[in-house]
Subunit: 243 residues, 2 copies
Amino acid sequence: MQIYQEYSGRIQTGDLAPSTKMPSENELAREYNTSRETVRKALHLLAQNGYIHKIKAKGSFVLDIGRMDFPMGGLVSFKEMSERIGRQSRTIVHENQLIPVPEDIASHLEIDQHKCLVWKVIRAREIEGERVILDKDYFRSDIVPVLTQEISSGSIYEYLEGELKLQISYAKKVVSVEEADEEDRGLMDLQHYTHVVVVRNYVYLEDTTLFQYTESRHRLDKFQFVDFARRSHGEDKKADFLK
Amino acid sequence: MQIYQEYSGRIQTGDLAPSTKMPSENELAREYNTSRETVRKALHLLAQNGYIHKIKAKGSFVLDIGRMDFPMGGLVSFKEMSERIGRQSRTIVHENQLIPVPEDIASHLEIDQHKCLVWKVIRAREIEGERVILDKDYFRSDIVPVLTQEISSGSIYEYLEGELKLQISYAKKVVSVEEADEEDRGLMDLQHYTHVVVVRNYVYLEDTTLFQYTESRHRLDKFQFVDFARRSHGEDKKADFLK
DNA sequence: AAGTGGTCTAGACCACCAC
DNA sequence: TGGTGGTCTAGACCACTTG
């Protein structure tokens, strides 16, 4: 809905100040010439993404959370954060080749080891002269037939979505801290750090096939993550919600 | 809706196997004697929490993600995870007192330093004989008037929700890795680890007042986090979605 | 009493998929 | 062609807050 886009935009730019009261659902429905249910779906999205908060019988109010650490509800890599803040970043492609599925990756990709080749891409991310992130990507070659070094040095995702028209639908991420290995020490500027934050990323398409596995390794001091959690109305996750 | 509870339950227990096809929305509407829109709201919730995936013109399918690392869509402390796996855990209350707001906390709690006292609670979490988590909580005393050592050694949240009837509505978490300080080394079994994972937690009530700030410090090897991210239909967060 | 958000309804049309 | 989910509608009743 355009309502979502309009208001999320205005809130992000600060046009709408925090704790401002939104127009009521009935007002919005009139204003946009639509039904109240439709307005509610837009407001629901805004609430989910941390832009507003709805209080029964009172109204909807702008939160100051959406602007604070942005992206919200997802992982923020240091690279992305740096670029938003306007810092320099560079990508170094160390490897970009079609290989049989490595044994330790096969289980992650949930595919048969002999049936399918995968593209393996290893890239170091340099920010302000320091290589602080190491990305290892594995793509199923039956879904991504071609992957050139040139594509890898840019945005692989723009290529997948723009060129190949792949529909990414959801992903699972697991974050942990592990000891740095030889490869980390070779391809990153680890300084004195002995450990790295490891983000394992499982990416699924519209038809629920897992087509990519990524391991993103971050230097400890250059990692941050922001999460916005809302109490679900499903009365399900009581214990889950807080730690 | 009861539909959400029924199906999330059946999926979690494994009663409904992954990739099983759900009844269509029309069937569910008939079955539960409700309208299709209402069914859709229930399915929407299931999809958001990683239980199912909806494919246009095909149907809704059970995912195997909801069961894998459970809680989903939130932080999982090692304590919670351990208890689910059935491990022993113990809480040690080191401090439980009413104090003026410390200067460095005042900014986090967004309250005036002289107007309001806060409860400060420091607890170490021991799992299988090792103190691997250190929680520092600060509660606004105008909202939480009483907090005994006994309450702190159990579940503070059960007390807040059950006894005080506080309505928690949303929270923001910021995760980073920092150097361990003297306090960490004194109250935790840090072994050789020089850093800790720090989870800063800002908790808000229904009326959007921030009433609690918590700093949860985890030993590196005992921290894990799982995130389930779904491509938003709002066509907003393209870059945000991955890494 | 008027206004708010929460919930639900009984329809409708669409694009897409499988047959 | 029939079934699916995606979107939207124009109403309705409720519990709650506010003046």
